[in-house]
Symmetry: C2
Subunit: 335 residues, 2 copies
């Protein structure tokens, strides 16, 4: 892979990213300072190496997945942000009052807005959160709410209707007892502890322990199910990208964007790299997209931000944006 080939591949990709049209040899003469025939010769070489491809025998070239991969690993040079991009982002970080999680979701919105891609943030799963407290709130002696709160500040609530003839004071007293036994337990161990440690003890002391036991059991079950901590911004942006100009693509991608299960996709990030780019089928989302993932960690919070765009993403710009943003967020920690 000599220098001219590298320059040519870079040029083809960057032109294609802008125009979304196959790139012909003529249009590259000026940039590469040689004739179209020379470029054609080089193109044949790049095609044999698998970095570019043709739609049909007499069409211009488009980058292959391998080509994009080579580009992000060897050719692109994330530059400083443009003034415009910078300006938008700074308004967030000047606002010191924002909590980390609010700042992250705000950033997402702005990235989706600036790039016209879809962005997702997945907070770290709360499985290693510790139970801080469970509050039972009495609404009308008949309905109660159980509010579960962890040490990292995740709060969930669930409403229950008590069976007739239940003494509400008894319920609250029992729940306080259970509460004390559970505080500090990792959230995913609560069910277990409830069953094998708490139940035997309260069963002895309290005659009608079952109602309260079930409330705790259900509340934690729901907690683990609901506890996704995921935010999506700019869902339909992706649908508007020009390559998705047929109804099948749009419907398929729209379905995937609605399906909350794409959180699995976000959470998987190989190795311990901070930033990783997944192109096409590697994306684990759709063969026709690229996903760029970036981990962040600030004080108690950590998570992964993912940008979902077309394969011909503005790689340099998105990487710069993400890095700038995460630097700032992690900076909030030190302050």
């Amino acid at each position: 892979m000599d220098e001219r080939k590298k320059a040519l591949l870079k040029e083809i990709i960057e032109t294609y990213v802008k125009t979304v049209r196959p790139v012909g040899s003529n249009s590259l003469c000026k940039k590469l300072k040689c004739s179209s025939a020379t470029i054609r010769n080089e193109m044949v070489a790049l095609e044999n190496m698998g970095y570019i491809e043709k739609n049909h025998i007499s069409s211009g070239r488009i980058p292959s997945e391998l080509g994009y991969k080579y580009y992000v690993e060897n050719l692109m040079q994330p530059k400083d942000l443009t003034g415009e991009d910078m300006l938008k982002l700074q308004t967030i970080f000047n606002n010191n009052e924002l909590e980390v999680s609010d700042a992250v979701t705000k950033c997402l919105e702005i990235i989706s807005d600036l790039t016209n891609y879809t962005s997702v943030v997945l907070g770290k799963n709360s499985n290693d959160n510790l139970l801080k407290q469970v509050n039972i709130i009495d609404l009308d002696n008949h309905k109660i709410i159980a509010v579960v709160c962890t040490d990292k500040g995740i709060v969930e609530n669930k409403q229950f209707t008590l069976p007739e003839n239940t003494n509400i004071d008894e319920v609250i007293k029992t729940s306080e007892m259970i509460n004390k036994m559970l505080i500090g337990t990792p959230i995913n161990k609560v069910s277990e502890k409830l069953e094998f440690e708490v139940k035997p003890i309260i069963a002895k002391k309290i005659k009608d322990y079952n109602t309260v036991y079930n409330i705790f059991y259900d509340a934690f079950h729901d907690f683990l199910v609901h506890n996704t901590n995921i935010h999506v911004s700019g869902r339909v942006n992706l649908l508007k990208e020009p390559e998705y100009d047929n109804t099948e693509d749009i419907k398929r991608i729209a379905s995937k964007l609605e399906d909350e299960s794409f959180q699995d996709m976000v959470s998987k990030i190989d190795g311990n790299e901070e930033l990783k780019i997944y192109i096409g089928e590697e994306s684990n989302f759709d063969d026709n997209v690229t996903v760029i993932k970036r981990k962040y960690k600030s004080g108690g919070e950590e998570g992964t931000i993912a940008i979902i765009g077309p394969k011909r993403m503005e790689y340099e710009r998105v990487v710069s944006l993400l890095n700038y943003m995460v630097d700032k967020i992690e900076g909030k920690d030190g302050k």
Copy 2:
């Protein structure tokens, strides 16, 4: 509008709903028991009345908005549910443990699933909820969470980082004081009361009251903003309807479905009818859809369910489904 015309219009609409093709005179001969020529004569009459239209001079007829309107007001006969539909819905109502709000969202999912339309439920705005309590949870002497709960069981929370040198015990003590003054206040009056009744009193008693005051102020501000209480099910179903077979329609509707502002659309329901059908531009959502809205009210909870589908909706079936469902939900109350 004689009987034969009514039968013809009904037949045209029901055929079109099934086939999504303009309906020709030949295909109706058997049903109407007359020749195609007779049907053509009647069609001319219906067209002059504005109930059906043609795409071009020699095409079959499709129902107009006026035609659909006449149909839902005069012709359709919501029938009993089919065994299949009934079966799916019953699994929910047999589950007595479900709270009303859970049952409603579960129903939405099933309706979206059965009909392939999009369904939305908008719970009544909590403005007339009364404040039940505000809990301050201390996470690590530096970060706290304020949990706001109303008498109807709506819970929201917000995290705060306390300024350096704040005495957390003082904060909790002050908040309990404020709490007592606010309990029972309608949620939308809280800010006012906080400013004009609570502030003067605590300002006298507590030297550094501002921190706590701001926490309450922000928490309620967020409460009112977040407090949408809206659930959507089957967003992309609508996109899959065969009439939306061009990218513009799909993108436009996808945008509208993503935009949370369609809650305004749901909340507007004229008069005090229980069920109302809005066709085409009346829908306040998109000219190419029909929205069927149904109010429900069960115990403390009330709200509106809306089904968004193509104009050639299965009106009879959807109306039956909604009525059956809401009857059951309201039945939960009495039990």
